[in-house]
């Protein structure tokens, strides 16, 4: 079986926050937000609370959480590797980690040519 290169990673600090939230809210997912204020950052929701759109792109899974974004936004992430990190702070969105006094954040780099040649295919919609 082919070993795919992943588009996603997660830091240990972010893993610990995911564990804490999962214990309280059950299965989780991420959806990358756009737009003003707290946008351009990943939102963390309980699976089933945020409705994944039929065209949303699933970039993969990190620490048991699928990571989605709108297809329009994905155009600009196609060549990027994304790491989910967490920093102290206070966002104003509905993301679940905010009451803990922390905020998820993404760090990005360009995918290498070798990675691009062997990327895990993205999924579409909630089924993937």
């Amino acid at each position: 079986m082919t070993e795919f290169c992943e588009r996603l990673a997660i830091t240990d600090a972010a893993r610990a926050v995911v564990d804490q939230l999962r214990a309280r809210h059950g299965a989780l997912l991420f959806h990358q937000s756009g737009g003003c204020c707290d946008g351009s950052a990943p939102m963390c929701f309980a699976v089933g609370d945020f409705r994944i759109g039929s065209r949303d792109v699933c970039l993969g899974e990190v620490h048991g959480c699928k990571f989605y974004m709108s297809p329009e936004q994905f155009q600009y992430y196609e060549n990027c590797h994304t790491t989910i990190d967490v920093v102290p702070g206070r966002g104003a969105s509905f993301s679940l980690e905010i009451p803990l006094g922390v905020r998820f954040l993404i760090r990005s780099r360009l995918l290498t040519e070798a990675e691009q040649a062997n990327l895990r295919p993205v999924g579409v919609g909630a089924e993937d």
Binding site: G39, S95, P99, R103
Partner: protein, 498 residues
């Protein structure tokens, strides 16, 4: 002139039913100032129970408030404006402390616009009319407006008082009662405002419940007894709000940001005059409010024939931006609103560098010697192309992405190659060219030879993914009302069907 950090109570409560009410679960969170990272006060960490109480109190107030005459509602809105005006300095200092923006902006822009917003809607409801049509000689159709009832409003942190005013004023003017949730980064200015204006309104007409999005925002947005929800923020939460609204089949108004193009045509450089000077300032407007504006002109499109000469004039103007003490009137840029905002902006500056954009200035944090615990970032300018993420994603910080274009067609293509359509601007001495851009740009606001001007009575809202609704204009009244058609027959004869 230097202002002072204002005094706060050690703890604030929710404002529900005309009284200060402790959160039912007794939980509070710490509100800090981004200027120095230090504690401001403690704020209720409310839950669904507090939202339920506020919605209940708002409905108790609605039967009377909804029937209050336009003259009486208008008079109250004018009193609110007068009270804010009488306390402008205190409110400006509070806003600066909680948000981090310079006092020159809160005193010179935010608060004057807040005052005017209340006066504008006070006037609008005195001067508007419904409509009457003669359908035929015996049938008259009347369109009349009635308030929705109790509405929910979720306020952002970039202009806490002004965005609250943009939502409160039309909702109250239209005869609704409001349950409002301030942003958790910047809750205190709205609470200080309620200390000043609370008594001007009947109890329960305007309720403020604090807390986090997941714990208080969600119960508000999904509450079965609200008749409308208004939100300013980002797209994913915007989608979630629409999803909750779909469960109750209620209207939403959303303002979700942009990536606004600021287009500089070649004729800008035809003369070295006051207009050129204004255009240079127009480019530097990306730094206003530390770039934390939904309409931040974060993409500058400059005609290739003037690029070098124009940027030679603009970059020194960026370098001349004074940073320092936000309480000092001469400071042009203050702190970013929170640590996570600060970290996110730096992460996007890093993305710009990795994408190969050319850094023209800034590109790092600003070390504020007076406030080492605050969150400051240097105004930053990159040159690149429109497919880069720094050209496509809203950074919500003082980061400008500049590119060039060869002709009007290419400029329009670049301007519209974005998910958003909130703000935009065109700078030109040629009125025919201006008109091409005005009609070609897909955005709710096109500034012509100006930027960042927000007078009441100039509608504000988005095309594309930037949202739904038009604030800052009397058309917002119809986002807060039902329309009732009264069809009156003066004919005595039956229709003849039965």
């Amino acid at each position: 002139m230097t202002f002072q950090r204002p005094q706060f109570k050690p703890q604030y409560e929710n404002y529900i039913g005309g009284r200060w009410v402790a959160p039912i679960d007794g939980k509070y969170f710490e509100d800090t100032s981004p200027i120095d990272g230090k504690l401001v006060t403690r704020i209720p960490q409310s839950s669904a129970k507090d939202i339920d109480l506020a919605v209940k109190k708002a409905w108790e107030a609605f039967p009377a408030w909804g029937k209050t005459s336009a003259a009486a509602r208008s008079a109250i809105l004018n009193k609110i404006a007068d009270t804010i005006e009488a306390n402008i300095q205190q409110l400006a200092m509070v806003e600066t402390c909680d948000n981090g923006k310079g006092i020159r902006e809160t005193l010179g822009a935010d608060l004057p616009l807040v005052i005017d917003q209340f006066r504008y809607f006070a006037a609008a409801i005195r001067t508007e009319s419904g409509s009457v049509s003669d359908i035929d000689s015996t049938l008259v159709s009347m369109e009349i407006h009635e308030p929705l009832g109790v509405v929910g409003q979720i306020i952002p942190w970039n202009f806490p008082l002004l965005m609250a005013a943009w939502k409160i004023a039309p909702a109250l003017a239209a005869g609704n009662c409001v349950v409002l949730k301030p942003a958790e980064q910047t809750p205190v200015s709205i609470l200080v405002l309620m200390e000043l204006i609370g008594d001007l309104l009947p109890p329960g007409v305007l309720n403020v419940v604090n807390g986090f999005g997941a714990e208080a925002g969600k119960p508000l947005a999904s509450h079965p007894d609200i008749k409308k929800i208004a939100f300013t923020g980002e797209t994913t939460t915007g989608r979630l709000i629409m999803q909750y609204a779909s469960e109750n089949i209620i209207p939403v108004s959303l303002e979700l940001g942009g990536k606004s193009p600021n287009i500089f045509c070649a004729s800008v450089m035809d003369q070295d005059d006051a207009f050129l000077d204004k255009a240079i300032e127009g480019l530097v407007m990306f730094a206003l409010n530390q770039g934390q504006v939904c309409t931040c002109p974060s993409r500058a499109l400059v005609h290739e024939s003037i690029y070098e000469r124009f940027m030679e004039k603009c970059l020194p103007r960026v370098a001349a931006i004074t940073m320092g003490d936000p309480y000092e009137l001469t400071t042009m840029m203050g702190a970013q609103a929170s640590n996570d905002q600060y970290e996110k902006i730096l992460s996007y500056i890093d993305i710009g560098k990795k994408e190969g954009a050319q850094l023209l200035c800034g590109g790092q944090s600003y070390k504020n010697a007076q406030y080492p615990g605050g969150f400051y970032i240097q105004p930053t300018v990159f040159k690149g192309h429109n497919k880069m993420r720094i050209f496509q994603e809203e950074i919500f910080g003082p980061v400008l992405a500049v590119t060039t274009f060869k002709d009007d067609e290419e400029a329009l293509a670049i301007a519209n190659d974005t998910l958003y359509g909130l703000g935009s601007a065109v700078w030109s001495r040629d009125m025919h060219q201006v008109q091409t851009f005005v009609r070609g740009i897909q955005a709710g606001r096109v500034w012509v030879n100006c930027y960042h001007v927000y007078p009441a009575h100039a509608s504000f809202g988005g095309y594309k993914k930037s949202g739904i609704g038009r604030e800052n204009h009397h058309m917002m009244l119809d986002h807060y009302r039902n329309t009732k058609n009264v069809l009156i027959s003066y004919a005595k004869e039956k229709m003849g069907f039965f």
